[in-house]
């Protein structure tokens, strides 16, 4: 009988949790995100749960909606690499994955930061490779508009190539010469060589281009997958692409997002979820929506049907961007308030599970054993309370099921992923 596949756990920690109103939950500690002690604590928590890694998301724009900063939304995150270095210093095994954009950064500087984190942590660093997609981001970097999507991907590919060349040359004394469309550089990293020479590369790729990029370069992939069938199909698709690109199908771990709310009974979990969502009253939802489309929506009547043209005029973002979000709901006659509520509740395609720890463990085990994924990227609704519940109550069940390690067997992130050749 073949051994059970390994279930990988990653914790995707964005500020004080994924629910916009989550910072108000009883088990949330919103003040703590400014203290080093908090990060040491959640690092220890994730290690106790035998997680592969902690991931921090990121954005390169401030909270802003048409010139007014929303007053009810929490800061998403502080600079990820800074936080992960703090966690790294306080832990010994947990992987440290930072989301860094290729759109408004330089390969040399980023390669050096990751090499430093990877060296200090002795092989625990990872890079979640993204492109910038928020219309306000270019304004912080001397540009008016984002480059279009195809160009962003092309730049990202070249960025990764250049950074990889720098990492590969690390410790050899050789100067890397890279000459391309987006970057021309000549340099060598001064950083001493980490155990594997380079951080683990992580991506999220949904489109055709995205899937190919991920299949060519990633070692772990995030994806949204609210249903078993979707996740299974995505994993099968990526594995087929890997083979096409000459890579072993096991060389990439597929990690769908998983949001969860747990309680002693399913009914209680559903009620708890509803209560958490209700922490985001209408004015918070409207701020959240306003931030998404770059307009201060507080001056529109929330009970009235979405005034599409007026909002487009009020927004700083391109009209097409705003219409993509609002045109459909406006045509359906939805009020601004109702749509804002609904939009806040949709965790962007990721699965939200409401139930007991036993039910969650059963679901997660089934997905991994039956090939829908290699693990999960947990997105706690609020921090640290809901993650503590997971580690205390779900982890032991996964371990008893034989799919989750009871102790670390490696000390590098690649090792935890089973990719340590």
């Amino acid at each position: 009988m073949s051994p059970l596949p390994e279930l990988h756990l990653w914790a995707f920690l964005q500020g004080i949790g994924h629910y916009p109103g989550g910072w108000r939950a009883g088990g949330a500690t919103p003040h703590a995100v400014f203290d080093a002690a908090y990060y040491a604590r959640i690092g220890a928590l994730a290690e106790r749960g035998c997680f592969d890694a902690i991931v921090f998301g990121d954005q390169l724009n401030g909270r802003d909606a048409g010139g007014r900063t929303p007053g009810r939304l929490a800061i998403p995150t502080l600079d990820p690499i800074t936080l992960l270095a703090v966690i790294g210093a306080a832990t010994s095994h947990i992987g440290l994955v930072a989301t860094v954009s290729t759109t408004y950064n330089d390969p040399f500087a980023i390669a050096e930061k990751f090499a430093t984190l990877d060296f200090l942590s002795q092989g625990r660093a990872g890079w979640n490779i993204v492109t910038s997609a928020h219309p306000a981001t270019p304004w912080n970097f001397g540009a008016l508009e984002l480059p279009d999507k195809t160009l962003r991907y092309a730049r990202a590919e070249e960025f990764v190539t250049a950074a990889s060349a720098l990492w590969a040359a690390s410790g050899t004394g050789e100067t890397v010469h890279h000459s391309g469309t987006y970057f021309t550089l000549e340099g060598k990293l001064r950083t001493p060589k980490p155990p594997h020479g380079r951080p683990v590369l992580v991506q999220a790729g949904q489109s055709e281009d995205g899937r190919d990029f991920a299949a060519k370069t990633a070692e772990a992939i995030f994806c949204p997958a609210s249903r078993f069938e979707d996740s299974f199909a995505y994993r099968a698709d990526i594995r087929a692409r890997l083979v096409r690109f000459g890579r072993h199908p096991d060389s990439v771990k597929i990690m769908p997002g998983l949001s969860f709310v747990l309680a002693d009974t399913e009914e209680e979990a559903i009620a708890k979820d509803r209560a958490l969502l209700e922490l985001a009253p209408e004015d918070l939802c409207i701020e959240y929506l306003g931030e998404t489309i770059g307009a201060d929506l507080s001056r529109f009547d929330p009970a009235a049907v979405i005034p599409l043209d007026a909002i487009v005029a009020a927004s700083d973002f391109p009209a097409a961007y705003v219409k993509q979000v609002l045109a459909g709901p406006a045509a359906k006659g939805l009020s601004l308030g109702a749509f804002a509520h609904a939009a806040m509740r949709t965790p962007r395609g990721h699965q939200t599970f409401c139930g007991t720890p036993e039910q969650l463990a059963t679901m997660m085990t089934r997905w991994v054993v039956e090939g829908a994924c290699d693990g999960f990227t947990l997105q706690p609704a609020y921090m640290p309370g809901e993650l503590e519940i997971f580690v205390d109550q779900v982890v032991p069940l996964l371990q008893a099921n034989g799919v989750l390690r009871k102790a670390y067997t490696h000390s590098t992130l690649r090792g935890h992923l089973g990719l340590d050749a």
Binding site: F34, Y39, L60, G62, G71, T82, L117
Partner: protein, 296 residues
């Protein structure tokens, strides 16, 4: 006015067992670790973040390339670091290493000599304005009312400089110190245009008249004499300190044993503080702590 005890700064190599070395230096009463420069092979900000959770009150001053770093990235990484260190961050924008590192960024990033001060100044101003996009008391974080911050206290910056255009607001709260400690090296031509805001200046001058002139030009700035870490010149430094011409020393890179011996020698002179003073770095060594604050 000099401080009563000598301010002790040490160049931090970031080699070997970093944390152990940093803790040892903190225990010896060192006030500032300056991280960066040609001898440091690791990224200074990542090193500072790595050290922060274990250290209690020592200042961590990171050297930042002023000509190849983007203000938005610098502002938020430094803000995060100031929080993680509990208000013990300093920063030292520098143009000194530009020629050595620029090829990694591409030839187009090479800044001609005559533009370096202007571009570095633009970088510093843009970074500072991004911090100012948040008032010190913007955060409210009241679960019951659901108010996280005061919207009137966070605003766009719309900075337009010759080299940088940055809208803001920053996606990070105002650093606990308001402004991290600002350090400069006299060897860097940049120091000429940053004098009005420099909290701490490293100098190589030993001539009393020259130091007096330096003081007169920047009465609110702490002057630290660059000394060899091996201890050569410490006697002179102690004398200059006694005469109020300098406020401290910066021990440059040397083997750990030699640096420790130098520190012991200074302690024997009776010029070092007995224990460490708690508090934010800027409150201890900043211009404002001399009550002749000049808002830049």
């Amino acid at each position: 006015m000099p401080s009563k005890s000598l301010i002790l700064s040490v160049a931090f190599d970031a080699s070997g067992d970093l944390t152990r070395r940093a803790l040892a230096l903190e225990a010896l009463g060192v006030d500032l670790l300056i991280i960066g420069g040609a001898k440091v092979l690791l990224d200074p900000l990542v090193v500072a973040s790595w050290l922060a959770p274990k250290l209690r009150h020592i200042g961590l001053v990171t050297i930042l390339p002023a000509l190849t770093t983007l203000p938005f990235h610098a502002a938020r990484a430094l803000s995060a670091m100031d929080f993680m260190s509990g208000g013990h961050l300093g920063w030292m924008p520098s143009t000194l290493e530009h020629d050595a590192v620029v090829s990694g960024f591409g030839a187009h990033m090479q800044v001609p000599d005559e533009e370096r001060e202007a571009k570095a100044r633009d970088f510093i101003d843009a970074t500072t304005r991004l911090w100012e996009s948040w008032d010190d008391d913007a955060l409210i974080i009241d679960k019951e009312s659901g108010v996280y911050l005061d919207s009137d206290k966070v605003r766009r910056v719309d900075y337009r400089g010759k080299y940088f255009t940055v809208m803001g607001p920053l996606n990070a709260a105002r650093p606990p110190q308001s402004y991290p400690l600002f350090v400069q090296d006299e060897a860097d031509p940049l120091h000429r245009v940053t004098a009005a805001r420099t909290d701490v200046l490293l100098t190589g001058r030993t001539d009393p008249a020259a130091l007096q002139a330096l003081r007169a030009g920047a009465p609110a700035t702490r002057l630290l004499l660059r000394c060899d870490g091996s201890g050569a010149g410490l006697g002179l430094a102690a004398d200059l300190f006694a005469r109020g011409l300098i406020d401290g020393v910066h021990l440059e890179s040397a083997p750990a044993q030699e640096v420790d011996a130098s520190i012991a020698a200074l302690r024997q002179c009776g010029v070092l503080a007995d224990g460490s003073t708690p508090g934010h770095l800027r409150a201890k060594f900043g211009r404002s702590s001399i009550s002749t604050e000049i808002k830049s």
